[in-house]
């Protein structure tokens, strides 16, 4: 007589985070797994909460510029700029035209650096480490240019309320054009690696799909939402700086392929096309650069007293590499703002992770999460608890699972 074993099929919970190599920002996921498939996703945030907004209520607006720069390393230009936009609108400060063009050049240069960094990380998640090295070597050229223009590679310190702090004089243009030429020559190589490779297609097409309805309902922003066919780009929608003067359009995947699927492959397409768009925008700015001042009020003491008289509330929105950044500022009779609210784009792109990951496999978690380009990078381990057995999957293991899937698909 055979003994029948009574087993109950059940899902088990896989917590990933708060710190994990697949995620560039510490965030806590709890996945419900059935075999290898993800059934449900729960998200918790707050692991890098540094009370920056609270610190801002104790500093004057110029000090806040430097504080805002350190909210994020990769979008270190967008936060102080959005804050400056909000304050300029409250205080009715007119930014000189030359400064608006300079601001565009810096913004697009940051976009190039960020998208190329992302391309390397996405390749690494799939398992193509040599592409990581290749793209980050290209990024070095962009960072060298940033250092030449601003003095720093990452936290540029170029923002000032009313303009920018450093000029781009005509003798600097040859170096800029040389770097842009380098990118144009190598862009085709990058495009060929990412879009023509069979394995990249197999891993990315059909993975992590975000439908247009979900993108609209969850208010996703940036390349994540444009890849799902939603045309949201603050530069085109509500022009700031000099974007209203420049010729460019929304980038959605149908520009290249003629169709919109909303998967990881579409996000790769959107980001690569945006690099090309940024190169074109910088060239347009260099050609059309007007003459004039680079800042509305160069003396800081005078600027501070002007800001102290400002009253009211305002918002500053701009299109960071990851999406819309919005800052809300309220100024009263004190030196420091009464209220300052920062919203980085990744926070709007966290909820879309849930529909993207449902139905996917565990090995797809790194590439799908990385495809929305969340904002920082760390490593740690993952604990899987199944009934009474507890075993640990290190970050290394999860990454290896992702690579093993690639090798399996290549056979």
């Amino acid at each position: 007589m055979t003994k029948t074993k009574q087993t109950t099929k059940t899902t088990f919970r896989l917590p990933i985070g708060p710190i994990h190599p697949a995620l560039k920002e510490p965030v806590m996921f709890e996945f419900e797994i059935d075999g290898e498939k993800i059934v449900d996703v729960g998200v918790r945030l707050g692991h890098v909460h540094r009370a920056i907004e609270w610190a801002g209520t104790r500093r004057n607006p110029i000090q806040i510029l430097y504080l805002a720069e350190r909210i994020c390393g990769i979008c270190s230009y967008c936060h102080p700029m959005s804050f400056a936009l909000a304050v300029e609108r409250i205080a009715d400060i007119q930014v000189p035209e030359r400064a608006e063009y300079l601001r565009v050049i810096q913004a697009e240069l940051e976009r190039i650096c960020s998208h190329i960094l992302w391309a390397g990380v996405a390749a690494h998640e799939i398992g193509f480490d040599s592409v990581l090295f290749l793209t980050w070597e290209m990024r070095e050229k962009a960072l060298d240019l940033t250092e030449y223009l601003t003095g720093n590679r990452i936290t540029k310190g170029i923002t000032m309320i009313g303009g920018v702090r450093r000029d781009i004089t005509p003798d600097m243009h040859p170096k800029i054009r040389e770097t842009l030429r380098y990118f144009k020559e190598h862009f085709e190589k990058l495009r060929h690696i990412f879009l023509d490779d069979k394995t990249v297609r197999m891993r990315c097409q059909g993975a992590g799909v975000l439908t247009k309805e979900h993108a609209l309902g969850l208010c996703a922003v940036g390349p994540t939402t444009r890849a799902s066919g939603v045309k949201k780009d603050v530069r085109c929608d509500q022009p700031y700086f000099a974007f209203g003067d420049l010729e460019f359009d929304y980038i959605t995947p149908d520009v290249l392929t003629g169709e919109v699927n909303g998967d990881v492959y579409d996000r790769v397409i959107v980001r690569l096309l945006e690099v090309k768009q940024s190169i074109d925008l910088i060239e347009q700015c260099l050609d059309k650069m007007p003459s004039g001042d680079i800042v509305s009020e160069p003396k800081l003491a005078k600027l501070l007293s002007q800001l102290k008289k400002a009253r009211g509330e305002g918002i500053g929105r701009m299109e960071a590499p990851r999406g819309e950044v919005i800052h809300y500022v309220r100024l009263t009779e004190n030196d420091a703002p009464f209220a300052w609210k920062v919203r980085a784009p990744t926070y709007n792109n966290i909820l879309p992770w849930i529909p993207m990951l449902k139905g996917q496999q565990i090995a797809d978690i790194p590439i799908v999460a990385a495809s929305t380009d969340p904002c920082m990078s760390c490593t740690n381990r993952v604990a899987v608890v199944h009934q009474n057995n507890r075993y640990t999957l290190t970050g290394e293991d999860l990454h290896k699972m992702s690579i093993r899937k690639t090798r399996r698909m290549q056979q």
């Binding site: 707050g46 022009p239 700086f241 209220a339 909820l351």
Partner: protein
């Protein structure tokens, strides 16, 4: 994309005022320009009273099927807590996007507001944040956990408040600790 009519800022404000009369106060339309071509952009601000808030959002959705919800800011004014919901309409049409900011004042003795996650699912994280940072109670919120503050942070302490429930005791001034 444009299966709804594009209203001018004045028409937008008027449509709210016609529907909600005294519940909409202090409307402001700010027009600014940027660049050499002086392309114009518009920010609309209005105060919406709490009891009309949910209907105002429904009205907004009738004007534009998927308004973009950016974030909800909030601050403590002493006796009231004001939440500012930042929306934007008409994205996707070059140079036509309008920002609409709705300020909702809540009395500190009863800071309860309706959730809008049934209409705009993307508002969830922002509403959770207001609950933990300001002590606002969002009626009907689907997930009632903390989102930005860790679980071991004291209960009934609200970091953005400026009264006795503020975070003063949690602040570590290094110069006082002599580190």
């Amino acid at each position: 994309m444009t299966n709804h009519t594009i209203l001018t800022p004045e028409q937008l404000v008027q449509s709210f005022q016609e529907k909600f009369s005294t519940d909409i106060t202090n409307p402001r339309i700010e027009r600014r320009t940027s660049g050499i071509k002086k392309i114009e952009f518009v920010h609309i601000w209005m105060n919406v009273s709490n009891n009309a808030f949910k209907d105002a959002i429904k009205h907004l959705i009738s004007l534009h099927p998927s308004p973009h919800f950016a974030v909800a800011s909030g601050y403590d004014l002493g006796d009231t807590i004001e939440l500012v919901y930042h929306f934007s309409l008409y994205y996707g049409l070059t140079h036509k996007e309008i920002s609409l900011n709705m300020t909702v004042p809540l009395p500190k003795t009863n800071p309860v507001i309706d959730t809008i996650t049934d209409l705009i699912p993307g508002a969830l994280i922002s509403e959770q944040e207001k609950q933990e940072m300001l002590g606002v109670v969002v009626k009907g919120i689907p997930t009632n956990t903390r989102v930005f503050i860790s679980d071991d942070f004291p209960e009934n302490m609200y970091p953005w408040r400026r009264d006795e429930t503020g975070p003063a005791s949690q602040v570590r001034n290094l110069h006082e600790v002599k580190k």
